[in-house]
Symmetry: C2
Subunit: 83 residues, 2 copies
DNA sequence: CAAAGATATCGACTTTTCCCGATATACCAA
DNA sequence: TTGGTATATCGGGAAAAGTCGATATCTTTG
């Protein structure tokens, strides 16, 4: 999922018609691609959010998730220096 | 454990008398510090080895483990570029 | 070769994680 | 306000990971 969110326009072409990708990708799109249930995907995304790897933005009835690149950079550096 | 192995002389002073740290730290030392059973520590170390994060060197009846810094560097870069 | 010490492997049990269906909540449209 | 759609939360069963004791393997020493 994290890799998908790196290039949303590439992996979620269906969303183009409805909305852009400024806010990220909505749960339903990710769920369809993942082949897991709605509840599983929703929970997974919320875990990633609490961990700081993605950010959520509610727009109407949809929740859009997008990557927080800073977190990946930080993790990469943490491994370099602390681990 | 991975952090301990970064500075063996600091975290395993007991080993100084017996042998140096050229080959790393032996299982018994790590086990004592970890507070887990011998079998658990042995299995854990072998998992880390298979994953490439540490290297094993058998010297007599002892097995010394030391970090493979390249693996950490590689992981760090993998997160930067691929993830 | 036998005994002793260090490490590795095996089988079982416990804890945690994964994933689901059911249900609740939030929002929109009529 | 009512029904429909999107997402979130909850409770439970299945799968995976963690940990242990018992035992096997390897090595040194007598």
């Amino acid at each position: 999922m994290l890799e998908w969110l790196k290039e949303p326009e590439l992996h979620f072409p269906d969303q183009l018609q409805h909305a852009g990708f400024e806010h990220g990708v909505c749960v339903g799109q990710i769920q369809a691609k993942a082949g897991l249930t709605q509840s599983t995907v929703s929970e997974y995304l919320s875990i990633l959010q609490r961990a700081g790897f993605i950010e959520a933005k509610r727009v109407g009835q949809w929740t859009y998730y997008k990557r927080n690149e800073g977190a990946f950079e930080a993790l990469s550096k943490l491994i370099q220096t602390n681990l």
